[in-house]
């Protein structure tokens, strides 16, 4: 199996699925000749033409809305938002329309659209090119939200999303695009939407994370391993619908849970995981469910010292692990 970068996995999934099913089209800003600002759609326009690779106007609400209409009339659109920060103008179309089309029509119409968006902070991404948006959408019934963390998952889950008859928000942490490499199965394969994955076995406590925080958590787990703390690390992968069984099973084993997320802590996605553990694993818990989330400021500030102040690093996670282990 070849080792490829996360961004290449995304790109391959596009190429494969567009070749496999002519109903699949891509639309978004700069997805054509430029191949997307991160390169996710490179090469598509040459292979599939301007009819299927659409450089959209700079208008996110209608990128979503046009995709919804296309899906109603037999296409399978992949709508790229250049940055997750810029999905906000499409909030109404996604929440009121895409997520409700099937329910409100009593199953008469569906909405097989994949909404892709690079999210999360990297160096210099500042207030408006770094947002975590998962909690907004994971809250909305009718849309699936996935955050794959490995190239193999990215490729396999993007294929799953494209083949899914319902709308899927596909979030790609931009720090992974070029940094994360991994093996990817040969040929056609799908990684199902739903199941979480235990990325590191441990018995002392469970760290539950997704996106870039998975990597910081895995590193933190290594840091504390030498101190005799054996942390299990769970990769949530699918935020909605959530695979709570895998999480609860882990907590039943370790009796301690730390949830790590890059988004602002308050009413962030991690609150749901914490609430579920608190309610359903009450008898298993030897310590309070802990959360590590970002500071309550509107976004990641640009200037280096501020950015560092904001970021959740392996060091901060290791500290939280130590605190939880010592409880």
């Amino acid at each position: 199996m070849p080792e490829i970068r996360y961004i290449d996995a995304i790109n391959q999934a596009h190429h494969d699925e567009m070749a496999r099913d002519e109903r699949v089209v891509v639309l978004g800003e700069d997805v054509g000749r430029k191949g997307g600002v991160f390169g996710a759609t490179v090469g598509l326009i040459d292979k599939f033409g301007e009819d299927r690779v659409i450089d959209s106007p700079l208008a996110e609400s209608s990128i979503a809305g046009v995709a919804i209409g296309m899906a109603a009339n037999g296409l399978i659109p992949i709508a790229e938002f250049q940055f997750a920060d810029f999905i906000h103008p499409a909030f109404n179309q996604i929440v009121s329309e895409a997520a409700r089309m099937r329910y409100r029509s009593n199953n008469a119409f569906g909405c097989p659209v994949v909404f892709r968006a690079p999210f999360g902070g990297s160096h210099g991404t500042a207030l408006y090119h770094s947002q975590s948006i998962e909690s907004f959408y994971a809250h909305v019934p009718g849309i699936k939200v996935i955050v794959p963390s490995t190239p193999a998952d990215a490729k396999g889950m993007l294929k799953a999303a494209i083949r899914d008859p319902d709308p899927v928000l596909f979030l790609e942490h931009k720090r992974m695009y070029r940094l994360v490499k991994g093996e990817v199965p040969d040929g056609d394969y799908v990684v199902p939407i739903g199941p979480a994955a235990v990325r590191r076995e441990g018995r002392d406590l469970s760290v539950i994370a997704y996106g870039w925080m998975l990597y910081e958590s895995l590193r933190a787990a290594e840091m504390v391993a030498s101190e005799g703390i054996n942390a299990e690390v769970v990769d949530v992968r699918t935020l909605a619908p959530l695979d709570k069984d895998t999480i609860l099973k882990s907590v039943a084993k370790t009796n301690r849970a730390l949830i790590v997320y890059e988004d602002n802590r308050f009413v962030g996605y991690g609150a749901e995981i914490a609430a579920i553990i608190a309610e359903e694993a009450f008898g298993d818990l030897d310590a309070p469910v802990m959360r590590l989330g970002a500071p309550q400021v509107p976004g990641i500030p640009f200037s280096k010292p501020l950015e560092e102040w904001f970021f959740i690093t392996k060091e901060k996670i290791a500290d939280a692990i130590r605190k939880l282990a010592a409880y």
Partner: protein, 341 residues
């Protein structure tokens, strides 16, 4: 032979010059009258406590029937708004369909009773499911038309909204897409000069919705929405244009609003008696009837036949809808996602 009939024989009737037969215009009248009668029935049922809410389109029926007439019932798409009763009837929904929606029954084809009345949708006759947020349907119409172009299906899409709705960003974005890609879509704006209580001059800068089209490089036409044949004429042109691959057209129909916004509104609070009265004189049902009588296509007798038929149909539909089952409580959990084939 009356003097009027004599005159009709001399100059060819307008509808004939437009290529419409006598049967066509009688059918058109039937739909206008059916929509109006349904409308009235819905208000009666609401006042009688049989329905929670009514939103309907008295005054809008003429332009809707005229605009929908060139559309192919099977092939073409329609993306309605809550006033689109007459348009949906022409497209293929029935009086029963409408009343099943009003009574929120399990077999309501629009939503199985899940949505408020007036939220039409019907997969069999290609009417997209609609929601309440004003404006979102415009990009949907464009997406459907875009798919038709890519898939080369020859489908034309018509999407409707009120003049208030044109203030939404989505409407602009949709028209821009359609203009860029010359999509086979007809943008209908039913301008009744009010968005609930907000009058046209506080809603539409410039006062003329059709004038917006020029900015997107395609034609915009403003027509008297009470002149059914004129509405048909401009819609036919738009339809032909779309078919020829020449792209979108924006049709603004200036219509009267013959009632309050909905059963939750009292227009007397913000409109003068005189204005409401003046609107009544623009009733498309009356103007079209006058036309049909003037060209001797309809007389007392045919009019009564149509009216009786409509009454019968609506009575039956009311009965049928009333006897239809409500949804099972637990069915509320279904169809959040696809449930397998």
């Amino acid at each position: 032979m009356s003097a009027m009939e004599a005159k009709a024989r001399v100059t060819p009737a307008r509808h004939k010059t437009l290529g419409l037969t006598d049967k066509d215009v009688l059918d058109m009248y039937y739909y206008i009258a059916l929509a109006r009668a349904l409308d009235e029935r819905m208000w009666v049922l609401q006042r009688a406590g049989k329905a929670m809410f009514v939103i309907s389109g008295p005054g809008h029926e003429g332009c809707q029937v005229g605009a929908m007439w060139p559309m192919d019932k099977q092939r073409d798409w329609f993306v309605p708004f809550y006033r689109s009763i007459a348009a949906c009837l022409v497209k293929g929904m029935t009086a029963s369909d409408m009343l099943l929606g009003l009574f929120a029954r399990a077999n309501d084809p629009s939503s199985g009773g899940r949505q408020m009345p007036g939220h039409y949708g019907h997969p069999r006759v290609k009417i997209l499911s609609t929601s309440s947020p004003v404006g979102t349907q415009y990009p949907h119409g464009v997406g459907i038309a875009y798919a038709a172009k890519i898939r080369k299906t020859g489908e034309i899409t018509m999407v409707a909204i009120g003049e208030g709705g044109t203030s939404q960003g989505d409407v602009h974005e949709a028209m821009n897409w359609a203009g860029i890609y010359k999509l086979p879509v007809i943008f209908v704006v039913e301008n009744n000069a009010y968005a609930i209580s907000v009058p046209l001059h506080k809603q539409v800068a410039g006062g003329n919705v059709a004038a917006r089209a020029a900015g997107y490089g395609f034609p915009g036409v403003s027509a008297d929405g009470s002149d059914v044949l004129e509405c048909y004429r401009v819609a036919k042109e738009a339809h032909d244009r779309a078919k020829r691959g020449e792209g979108p057209t924006l049709l603004e129909f200036r219509v009267p609003r013959l009632g309050s916004h909905s059963s939750d509104d009292q227009q007397e609070r913000y409109r003068t008696k005189e204005e409401i009265q003046a609107d009544r004189r623009r009733d498309p049902l009356q103007t079209f009837r006058q036309y049909l009588e003037s060209v001797a296509v309809m007389n007392e007798g045919t009019h009564k036949e149509i009216t009786d038929r409509i009454k019968r149909e609506i009575d039956e539909a009311t009965d049928f809808a009333d006897r239809s089952p409500l949804p099972e409580p637990d069915s509320g959990a279904r169809y959040v996602f696809h449930e397998g084939d």
